[in-house]
């Protein structure tokens, strides 16, 4: 092996990576917050919601969980304009991530809801709370607490999966790596840097979600201390 490593291009191209990092973080934040919110709503529908709403949500969840993310993204970006819905690559990427994470987190959160002991629903009813109030004040928080590690992993997966948005010219970290690679022909170095960036982002995201869980679920603090 006599390949000579050269990171000299970083001086010229690091702004491309900085912009890429900003876009990957933006996609993950927007996709994560709205996606999980939407997932909780869907989970409520599938577990406790009105009967007539359950089939469409079930179809949505199965449709998204059984098709590749990249195809969903291409459908939104290249396919929908034929029907008159045209959006830029960032909106398309955000929408695709929300829809994708919504479906996966729906199933994760539903598992958390369905693991709730029956007595808690009955206790809520005995206090004369309406079903939505029971869900909001009694059920959801322990349910989320139960599945928080799984949900955190799913968010990390979606963040890493966001690499494919470079295919529709969204300028994320992967785009930056491809862009630099096609100009400097330093394939090893540019993908090495992008790998390091993703690793750092994943670790930060996981730590951040752990921290968020610590705040959201005071009960966990008792366990861990």
């Amino acid at each position: 092996m006599n390949y000579v490593f050269d990171f000299g291009w970083l001086a010229q191209y690091y702004p491309v990576f900085l912009k890429g990092i900003a876009i990957t973080i933006e996609l993950t934040l927007v996709g994560g917050v709205i996606g999980i919110g939407f997932g909780i709503f869907c989970a409520w529908v599938r577990a406790l919601g009105p009967t007539w709403m359950r089939p469409p949500v079930a179809v949505y969840v199965e449709l998204i969980r059984n098709t590749p993310f990249m195809v969903q993204l291409f459908f939104i970006f290249f396919g929908l304009p034929a029907l008159g819905f045209r959006m830029g690559e960032l909106q398309a990427a955000n929408l695709a991530m929300i829809i994708n994470l919504g479906a996966y987190s729906c199933e994760i959160v539903r598992a958390g809801i369905e693991a709730t002991p029956k007595g808690q629903f009955e206790a809520g009813a005995a206090l004369a709370l309406k079903p939505l109030q029971v869900f909001r004040h009694i059920i959801i928080r322990p349910a989320l607490q139960r599945i928080w590690p799984a949900l955190s992993s799913q968010v990390v997966i979606v963040m890493l999966g966001s690499a494919v948005v470079s295919q529709i010219a969204a300028e994320d970290v992967t785009f930056a790596a491809n862009f630099i690679q096609s100009r400097t022909f330093r394939a090893f170095e540019s993908y090495f840097v992008s790998t390091a960036i993703y690793l750092a982002l994943s670790i930060l995201l996981r730590k951040g979600l752990d921290y968020l869980g610590f705040f959201l679920f005071p009960a966990t603090r008792v366990e861990s201390h």
Partner: protein, 265 residues
């Protein structure tokens, strides 16, 4: 000592080589006469480069270059023998006298010019900016405020990155298909690509036709032939000039590239 013997060996080889090369033209018969007496014109055409040359569903070669070869043979009054080649071996086929002409989307560059001769150009081949007819673009400065799709790392990408105004947005797609899809779905106002790619879009009769707007890099195709063939060269150039003026070359361009022959070709 060793070095010196190597040097003299190289010298001897070079001398021998140049002697044998100098001897070739005399040894070989006049190219045009050979064609006329044998009654066949052997032409190297591309086998894997649509729309210039590819194999059709009936397994017969088809494309711009095949039509051009047939046109030249017809005007010479001989039969065309189509020899499919790859871009790597098209010049060796000519040099080893396996074909009389290379009509294989061949561009001119100094390295090739040193070993073979080129006719007048017969086909347009360029990278440029393409957009629907209703968008006014005549130069790089008109790209201001527009979104242009390019294939990442291509010549167009590198050139346009240099010449596009500050407020033009370049969207860089992974491959030509991404660029084409982005154009057809209206995600970009214009695309910068090769005329061959634009021709591939036009061939599918899309609702938005990519019309040529301005040129980024021009590298037209020439008929290649062996050096020192003045009669063959004159005849081929005469046929090309005739085909340009009587519209038959324009018809080939319309058929395979979807655009009329550029006037300056």
């Amino acid at each position: 000592m060793k070095r010196r013997s190597l040097f003299s060996l190289a010298l001897a080889l070079a001398t021998g080589l140049s002697l044998s090369m100098a001897g070739t033209p005399e040894a070989r018969a006049n190219g045009l006469e050979t064609v006329m007496s044998s009654g066949t014109l052997r032409v190297a055409v591309p086998q894997d480069f649509p729309p210039f040359g590819s194999v059709g569903s009936d397994m017969a070669p088809q494309g711009y270059d095949i039509d051009m070869a047939k046109l030249i043979a017809e005007k010479l009054g001989v039969k065309a023998e189509i020899v499919p080649v790859t871009s790597a071996n098209r010049i060796p086929y000519l040099q080893t006298n396996k074909v009389d002409l290379v009509i294989s989307s061949l561009g001119k560059n100094p390295e090739r010019d040193a070993v073979i001769d080129f006719s007048e150009p017969y086909a347009p081949f360029y990278n440029g900016v393409f957009a629907p007819a209703d968008i006014e673009i005549s130069g790089a400065e008109d790209l201001s405020g527009k979104t242009i799709g390019v294939t990442r790392g291509s010549i167009e990408d590198l050139e346009l990155t240099k010449i596009a105004p500050e407020d033009a947005t370049l969207k860089r797609y992974e491959d030509n298909n991404g660029t084409i899809s982005a154009f057809l779905s209206g995600q970009v106002d214009a695309v910068a690509t090769g005329n061959v790619v634009a021709a591939a879009i036009i061939e599918k009769n899309p609702p938005k036709r990519p019309e040529p707007k301005f040129l980024i890099k021009n590298s037209p195709c020439y008929v290649g032939m062996n050096e020192n063939e003045p009669e063959l060269m004159a005849k081929v150039n005469e046929i090309i000039a005739e085909a340009k003026s009587d519209g038959s070359l324009n018809a080939i361009s319309e058929k395979w590239l979807g655009i009329p022959l550029p006037e300056d070709l």
